[in-house]
């Protein structure tokens, strides 16, 4: 995983991530304010006092937090559109991933989210070998062909050309198997199947949070499992990484745990998983009214003459 582009280019500490968003936003604010000044200067004779006041009061660049709210709102839209297209879970996940990463490199004030939504899904399909021709894609999504293709390169470049995503779904399948090995005979399989599906849905929701930048896919999976069934997950991890089982040292158990020279400390892992589960529990939904007012300011910054 440390060799993957996902780790090399797209993993951050919370401080780094915030810093990056602040920089992207500051750059855009500076440029927008300059544009607005130029706009007013260019029309100093036409615009009266009140009009200038209106522009200054309503064409106000959005700040970093507001940007993030808009990105989260549209990330949800990406998920909805991708799911409506009946795309496989992994491709919905890749679409969301592409969309959210794009706005770690670009400001919504420079490329508005609704312009890029379809391109992220289109590129995710291509990248995941689920090719849909542009004509059929635009027919299904009622998108504009030129617009979808126009943003493909900027999207690819903003992604730093890293297209291979590791999502927490396969780790879920992996832990589903390993839990059966480590807790062999002590776990109800139909129950496991039941939480498996719920975990898949929780994982998709987790991809809408910043957990994807702070934690590895398996850690997110364990956090989701912890939220679904804390007792089972804790029991599994204790047996797996701490070996504090009643019949400790049993060779068969040792083997099934694959404890070779395990280098994972249980307490450290539990802390990571618990912190991650707290983060993915935090909703990223945005009140529609708030989103609308942010979007309005965004619009007026780009179209002051409409004001």
């Amino acid at each position: 995983f440390r060799h993957s582009s996902q780790y090399r280019f797209w993993s951050f500490t919370p401080e780094q991530l915030e810093q990056r968003r602040i920089e992207v936003n500051a750059q855009a604010v500076q440029s927008i304010e300059q544009d607005l000044r130029n706009f007013i200067d260019a029309r100093s004779t036409e615009l009266n006092e009140e009009e200038i006041k209106t522009i200054e009061n309503r064409a106000v660049p959005v700040n970093m937090e507001e940007e993030l709210k808009l990105v989260n709102l549209y990330a949800k839209k990406v998920q909805t559109i991708a799911q409506r297209l009946n795309l496989p879970t992994e491709i919905v996940a890749t679409s969301i991933t592409f969309f959210r990463r794009f706005y770690l490199e670009n400001s919504v004030m420079k490329i508005e989210p609704k312009a890029i939504v379809l391109t992220t899904i289109f590129l995710a399909c291509k990248s995941e070998n689920y090719f849909i021709g542009i004509d059929s894609f635009c027919e299904k999504t009622r998108g504009d062909k030129e617009q979808v293709l126009k943003y493909e390169f900027p999207l690819l470049e903003s992604l730093k050309f890293s297209l291979l995503s590791h999502h927490p779904y396969r780790p879920l399948h992996g832990f589903f198997l390993d839990i059966q090995a480590v807790l062999h005979g002590k776990v109800d399989l139909s129950y496991m199947g039941h939480i498996y599906d719920r975990c898949k849905k929780r994982i998709t929701d987790a991809l809408l949070t910043d957990a994807v930048y702070f934690y590895s896919p398996p850690q997110i999976t364990l956090a989701v499992l912890m939220l679904e069934d804390e007792a089972l997950t804790t029991r599994y991890l204790e047996l797996k990484f701490h070996g504090n089982d009643t019949n400790q040292g049993n060779a068969e158990d040792e083997a099934s745990r694959g404890n070779g020279n395990v280098t994972i400390q249980l307490d450290k892992l539990m802390k990571i998983v618990t912190n991650c589960s707290k983060l993915i529990e935090k909703p990223t939904t945005v009140p529609v009214e708030e989103a609308k007012s942010i979007a309005a300011r965004l619009y007026f910054c780009q179209n002051p003459d409409d004001l």
């Binding site: 582009s5 990248s127 979808v148 390169f153 050309f161």
Partner: protein
């Protein structure tokens, strides 16, 4: 930072130039992806090259040094690799030994193993995709057909791998194949290195099936369970598999272990075919002669 000095190749979706990385003076190859040709935006082969080369860093896989957009073209900056195994096989003035062949197979399989342990199928292994660095190191190249191992229920196209190197399951139109298809290609390449002529040169897809089974025998349900399930199976000419003695005569320079190595890679049943680890750990690589030092190979 990068110059394009000389055009050295042109494919369906890219033009390749030789150049230099200015800051280090390192020779490079720039693969300029044509973007106007593909009405659906960026070409799938380009997307695959970018996607997989970004993830793979291995001595026996071509290095992707950088990527940049210029004048609406996508440019992949790759390490400069002046030759390839196809050129070596065809150039009669080049004499190479069993130790050289062993060295090339070892490096090829290390590169293939690294792809497979990253769950990436190459799907187009052939001599001219096995490039040679100035130091004689083999590098697996051209990931335009690569893909990750499929999800269990995913359906794959069987229209992959250049025909002469195409595994029997692909010839039958299989949709759920595995990394075994790359191992088959490596086996055919090994045979070609020993014979210095293509081993299974089918004229077309139908002939490829004929040529393959005439040389290696027609598979049956006994040795390949459910092979008769494939619709293409019923129209087959039945050939007996070659005896060990016939193989010895065909590959006169091959030791017993080399023959076993070849047969392991060219096992008809993909479930039984050797995987990259079994190939690398085979006795062929443990017996004399040791693989040549790549640098010493002329």
């Amino acid at each position: 930072e990068y110059t394009k000095e000389r055009k050295v190749g042109e494919g369906t979706y890219a033009v390749v130039y030789l150049g230099t990385k200015q800051s280090s003076g390192r020779k490079i190859a720039v693969k300029e992806i044509k973007t106007s040709e593909f009405k659906d935006g960026l070409d799938m082969s380009a997307i695959r090259e970018v996607k997989y080369l970004q993830e793979i860093q291995h001595e026996n896989v071509i290095e992707l040094i950088d990527i940049f957009l210029a004048y609406d073209n996508l440019n992949l900056v790759l390490e400069f690799l002046p030759s390839d195994l196809e050129k070596v096989i065809k150039d009669r003035s080049i004499l190479f030994t069993p130790a050289d062949i062993k060295s090339w197979m070892l490096m090829t399989l290390r590169g293939v193993h690294h792809c497979h342990r990253n769950f990436i199928l190459h799907r187009d292994l052939k001599p001219n995709n096995l490039l040679l660095s100035p130091e004689g190191i083999i590098k697996v190249a051209d990931f335009g057909l690569a893909r990750t191992f499929p999800s269990a229920q995913e359906i794959l196209t069987s229209n992959v791998v250049t025909r002469w190197y195409r595994a029997p399951e692909l010839l039958f139109g299989a949709k759920h194949y595995t990394s075994a298809v790359d191992i088959w290609s490596a086996g055919v390449i090994f045979a070609e290195l020993m014979l210095r002529i293509p081993y299974l040169p089918g004229q077309n897809d139908v002939d490829q099936i004929e040529v393959t089974f005439r040389a290696l025998g027609t598979p049956t349900d006994a040795d390949w369970p459910d092979v008769s399930f494939f619709s293409a199976y019923n129209k087959l000419q039945i050939y007996p598999p070659p005896s060990r003695e016939e193989l010895r005569r065909r590959f006169i320079a091959a030791s017993e272990n080399a023959l076993s190595f070849l047969c392991g890679m060219l096992t008809m049943n993909p479930q039984k075919r050797w995987n990259a680890v079994e190939c690398l750990e085979s006795d062929y690589f443990k017996e004399a002669p040791a693989p040549s030092d790549p640098f010493s190979i002329k």
